[in-house]
């Protein structure tokens, strides 16, 4: 038995351990408790459902009959993040479906929490921590299935070590449960398209349906799997229609649970809140897509610059236009990316950072694919190099000050200029031995450097650093 067969397992175990370790650092300190009160609100919905059978949470959107204003000083939030406003408490709470609440609140209940003030981030972020690690594993598995082991290693290495991914994944936000459901459903869809087993189609549909009980933006998962089936089904669109219909029925049937849930408490209010939610102000505005690419927001007002996000968008654009030996396979990440973009732009609402989280795994998978394609295609050497330069430069700028950087400035500018000349030379003489060896080596080195810089950048992110995070 070849020892190389164990390499994927060894790497996966390594990446799980690294993810586990990195995600556990300052889990309950960064982001600050109270930076998003949604975290507590979800837990309160779950805890109140368990204790009273009625969901109670923070809202304030129009449509609720009664609003109770309360100071609930969980985690001492009124000493800092929450300012002086009491929380607008509503019940029964219908802003979102209750599944995430049941997870977070249920976990708090298991830890001994019985009242709202008991739902400390120390408790309620723990399930999200596990979802984050699971998401890394699922991204590895999905990318391995779609492209191969090398892309899987690259994508999961970025996802495991990206400071943005690490910190964003620990927040008690619906998107952080949508991500593993998204990846799991896509994986089941992929396997269905390969094996044509009905059970896999039902599995994909059920996973997509469960996402609708987390947040209605889980519709992106339904859309993604639908379009993947239409695109990849053997025999074309006409033959795909029965599978699409089955998938759609299986997944959308879960909405009946949300409707039953609403009807059990107050159907009039349920509909009223649904209408209010649908008419939220479109605060993301026309700059939404530009912001998405250039501003890596993590909460309502805080940013954490991560060059891998912009690199991911550039990689995705390239993948749309590039011919490749597995061109169609790129659609396994591009279709979900665009489907979530549709939902993101359609739903709009406030420009909260957590609405962007589900883009992250697909952007990182796109970088992985571009990197691997570039190692085989000299035309991609320069674009891949420039794409990797973005995260390397961003992370470096966060690690050392511009004054200290002057010691490296000579190496940086002359090294970059030299490399860029070599890359340009590769267009003139693509078959040269120097090009064939040197350029892939520099790309791999730049990638490894980017991962190392990710780790160094993350090491700097202490609670004190977080106060001024940009």
């Amino acid at each position: 038995m070849k020892i190389t067969r164990f390499f994927p397992i060894v790497f996966l175990i390594t990446i799980v351990l690294v993810s586990f370790y990195l995600r556990s650092i300052n889990l309950s300190k960064i982001p600050y408790p109270g930076e998003s009160m949604d975290e507590y609100s979800f837990a309160w919905v779950g805890l109140s459902l368990i204790r009273t059978g009625i969901p109670i949470g923070i809202s304030g959107i129009t449509g609720y009959k009664n609003t109770d204003f309360r100071y609930i000083n969980v985690d001492q939030v009124f000493r800092g993040s929450a300012k002086g406003n009491p929380f607008a408490i509503n019940s029964p709470w219908f802003d979102h479906p209750p599944l995430l609440g049941l997870v977070a609140g249920g976990f708090a209940y298991l830890m001994g929490g019985r009242v709202f003030e008991d739902t400390q981030v120390n408790f309620i972020r723990k399930p999200m921590f596990f979802f984050g690690v699971i998401s890394v594993c699922l991204l590895f598995y999905y990318t391995k299935k779609v492209f191969g082991i090398k892309e899987a290693i690259i994508a999961s290495a970025i996802y495991a070590t990206s400071p943005l991914a690490i910190i964003s994944s620990r927040m008690v936000q619906a998107e952080n449960l949508l991500i593993p459901l998204f990846l799991a459903s896509l994986t089941a869809t992929y396997l269905y398209l390969q094996k044509q087993q009905g059970a896999l189609l039902y599995a994909a549909g059920i996973l997509a349906g469960i996402s609708l009980l987390v947040k209605l933006s889980g519709l992106a998962i339904v859309l993604s799997c639908t379009f993947l089936i239409l695109y990849f089904y053997p025999g074309g669109i006409k033959k795909a229609v029965p599978s699409v219909l089955i998938f759609a029925v299986v997944s959308l049937a879960f909405l009946i649970f949300f409707i039953s849930y609403g009807a059990a408490f107050d159907f009039g209010q349920f509909l009223s809140i649904f209408t209010s939610n649908s008419n939220r102000i479109y605060s993301i505005g026309p700059l939404a897509f530009f912001d998405l690419m250039t501003a890596t927001k993590i909460t309502a007002s805080r940013y954490l610059t991560d060059g891998f996000v912009l690199a991911g968008w550039f990689s995705s654009f390239l993948l749309f236009v590039l011919p490749s030996e597995k061109k169609k396979h790129e659609m396994y990440i591009l279709i979900p990316l665009v489907c979530y973009l549709v939902i993101f732009l359609l739903f709009g609402s406030e420009p909260y950072g957590w609405y962007r989280f589900p883009f992250i795994p697909f952007l990182f998978a796109a970088i992985a694919r571009i990197l691997m394609l570039s190692l085989r295609n000299p035309d991609l050497f320069l674009p891949a190099f420039l794409i990797l330069l973005i995260p390397a430069g961003v992370s470096l700028s966060k690690i050392i000050s511009i004054e200290k950087f002057q010691e490296l400035a000579g190496i940086w500018r002359w090294g970059l200029a030299g490399l860029l000349f070599i890359y340009l030379f590769s267009y003139a003489k693509p078959k040269s031995k120097m090009v064939k060896i040197l350029i892939p080596v520099t790309l791999i080195c730049l990638f490894v450097l980017s991962i190392y810089l990710n780790l160094e950048y993350f090491r700097k992110i202490t609670p004190q650093y977080w106060q001024n995070a940009t």
Binding site: W44, L47, S48, R51, T52, G53, I54, I56, D68, F69, R70, Y71, I72, N73, V74, Q76, F78, R79, G80, A82, K83, G84, N85, P86, I89, S91, G112, R114, V115, F116, E117, D118, Q120, G198, Y202, P242, I246, V249, V250, A253, F254, I256, F257, I259, S260, Y261, A263, A264, F265
Partner: protein, 173 residues
């Protein structure tokens, strides 16, 4: 296309949704009460450690969107130890001076004892001989803590401050 599994699936989903509806109806009618809801919202956490120092914490920041419907409570535990707090009126129940102090005690994790005529204690600072005295402005001492709050009231409570100390405070602030 074999629709039998889909039909079975839909029947199962529909049955489960009815079960969910009945379960939630029954569970909430059995478990919900106003007292339980109130407990959820207002009971302090058992994981929280009370502090003996009522000036240890503050409620910083101005509440947004409340216009003038707020009050400020400043506790002066000594000349060098004070706590600054701003609270929105809509969160204070009952909306009296004692209601505000009890809310502050809950939020800032200290014990409070307030009777209509005076403060008995805030944290470990006992007031059996009027050591705690609270003022709205320099000349208006609060004598009845069951009085209703007014918009933009700034309540200053001093512990063991003499008249001259209080006067000096208002002259300097």
């Amino acid at each position: 296309m074999n629709l039998k599994p889909l039909a079975v699936y839909l029947i199962a989903i529909f049955t489960l949704s009815i079960f969910l509806y009945l379960f939630l109806k029954n569970y909430s009618s059995t478990n919900y009460s106003k007292a339980k809801k109130e407990e959820l919202l207002s009971a302090p956490s058992k994981f929280k450690l009370n502090t003996g120092d009522p000036c240890m914490h503050s409620v910083y920041g101005d509440p947004a969107g409340v216009q003038e419907n707020y009050i400020k409570i400043n506790l002066h535990c000594s000349k060098s130890n004070s706590s600054t707090n701003t609270l929105a009126l809509e969160g204070i129940s009952p909306d009296t001076y004692s209601g505000a102090l009890y809310l502050l005690a809950n939020v800032n994790v200290f014990e409070a004892g307030v009777i209509p005529e005076r403060i008995d204690k805030l944290g470990n600072l006992i007031s059996d001989n009027n050591q705690w005295r609270c003022f709205i402005g320099q000349n208006r001492e609060i004598k009845n803590f069951n009085e209703k709050l007014k918009q933009k009231d700034t309540i200053n409570c001093f512990y063991e401050f003499s008249f001259e100390d209080v006067k000096k405070y208002y002259e300097n602030n």
